[in-house]
């Protein structure tokens, strides 16, 4: 039971060209910054990335797009990224857009061993093309399949040496779902603690789902839309 690795580079040693990766985060919130940097440095190519968004031009998955590492994105929203748009329009990049709840639920299905789930999202739209529909209680649902990915790359707030994870605020988002869904799950945490330091009642992801864990460095946590209100004083 040795899940702790030294850093992102060591953690991704066996990720190869052409693989399918899940990457946690919503926008730039809760993304695995260290792991993305390691993927960029390693120069892997032809990756399929399952992630709600595709980062911005110069941060997050945007960095992988800059390096033309991504063959296909499976996302719900990709509108923050000019390089993304260029590659899409030029045909360099494949994109599969799916509803956000479908994305989340297909991750959960993988983590819970459910091969398929039913959702009404996308019924009657182009998302439904080629998919099986089914009526329950008079309402139509699409059958959507669990994701099948080689690796899940996840960012948590705190973790322990057994791989137990706690997320913080809305940086939770897709992270615990993808943590459950990867054939191999790699987690970077802001703080890595000895087993026993986390309250067993308050762990979001049990370590049984986690294969490798390390403490990340130099978190930038860039904000996409800084919205504030003026101070009264």
């Amino acid at each position: 039971m040795n899940k702790v690795v030294q850093n992102a580079q060591e953690a991704i040693f066996d990720i190869q060209d052409g693989m399918t990766l899940m990457l946690g985060g919503f926008g730039l919130c809760g993304i695995p910054e260290n792991l993305i940097e390691a993927l960029v440095n390693k120069g892997l190519k032809n990756l399929t990335c399952i992630s709600n968004n595709a980062g911005v031009d110069d941060f997050g998955i945007g960095l992988m797009l800059q390096g033309k590492q991504v063959k296909k994105m499976i996302s719900s929203y990709v509108g923050e990224n000019a390089e993304f748009e260029r590659q899409l329009l030029s045909g360099e990049l494949e994109v599969e857009l799916i509803p956000q709840g479908t994305l989340a639920t297909r991750c959960m299905a993988a983590g819970y061993g459910m091969p398929a789930v039913f959702t009404p999202a996308g019924v009657g739209t182009e998302v439904a093309h080629g998919k099986e529909t089914r009526v329950f209680n008079g309402k139509t649902y699409l059958m959507e399949h669990a994701f099948d990915s080689d690796f899940a790359l996840v960012k948590a707030w705190k973790g322990d040496t057994q791989g137990n994870l706690i997320f913080r605020a809305t940086a939770r988002n897709f992270n615990p779902l993808m943590a459950m869904a990867g054939k191999i799950t790699i987690v970077e945490v802001e703080e890595l603690l000895p087993a026993g330091e986390l309250d067993p009642d308050q762990i979001h992801t049990p370590g049984i789902y986690v294969h490798r864990i390390f403490q990340g460095l130099n978190y930038e946590k860039r904000i996409e839309q800084r919205t504030v209100k003026p101070r009264q004083d």
Partner: protein, 217 residues
């Protein structure tokens, strides 16, 4: 004609104490500014938060705490964080009482199009398809006509649709409309807007009752 703030203000009349509400990006977000005094509503943000508070004070932004529009926000007493599967689970199970969305087009059977303009950049549907497919009560905030004067309240959507037969009410810059078997049912006129103006601006089936009051704020 109503401006965006007034559309939001009118939609706020639909709020009831204790409602759980999901507000989409754009005009719907503004609705939060018009919650009546003394009323408690709980805002759901589909990226994983119930109990969304106002923007933070300058300098107190938390990069781990954003809404579905990726804006920095705050929590309030009673807030809860959860993952995206539970977030859309509660949406799909009908636990959110009211959803307010923007739209490019709405059809007189309640179809909505708000995610894609073919030939232009496609940004993706985000959570919109999940919301429209599951919400019990959907109100759309929208401009009645495009900039070149074409109606966006249609007999059928021309753009790729987001969901079928789901919109219950539309608040446009010209008026308030229910959608039922009669099509768009004109409930209220914007101040100074005549029924005739609305009839001319509406391509879809429009039912005009005998009395159409002007809206009040």
């Amino acid at each position: 004609m109503l401006n965006k703030e007034q559309i939001a203000q009118r939609i706020a009349h639909e709020l009831r104490n204790g409602m759980y509400v999901n507000l989409g990006i754009g005009i719907p977000t503004l609705v939060a500014n018009y919650v009546p005094e003394g009323m408690t509503i709980v805002l759901q943000s589909e990226n994983g938060l119930l109990g969304m508070g106002p923007f933070p004070f300058d300098g107190e932004e938390d990069p781990d705490l954003i809404n579905a529009g990726k804006q920095t926000i705050t929590t309030i007493p009673g807030s809860v964080f959860f993952d995206s599967a539970m977030s859309f689970g509660m949406i799909r199970a009908g636990k959110v009482d009211l959803t307010v969305l923007g739209a490019m087009e709405v059809a007189d059977n309640g179809d909505i199009a708000n995610w894609k303009i073919p030939g232009k950049m496609v940004k993706g549907m985000g959570g919109a398809m999940d919301l429209v497919a599951s919400a019990k009560n959907i109100i759309v905030a929208m401009q009645h006509c495009s900039r070149d004067g074409k109606s966006k309240l249609l007999s059928s959507c021309s753009l790729p649709i987001t969901g079928l037969a789901c919109v219950k009410k539309v608040v446009s810059d010209l008026g308030v409309f229910d959608i039922d078997h009669r099509g768009f049912v004109l409930l209220e006129r914007a101040p100074g807007i005549s029924v005739e103006t609305i009839v001319n601006a509406t391509e879809g089936r429009l039912h005009v009752p005998d009395q159409v009051p002007e809206m009040t704020f």
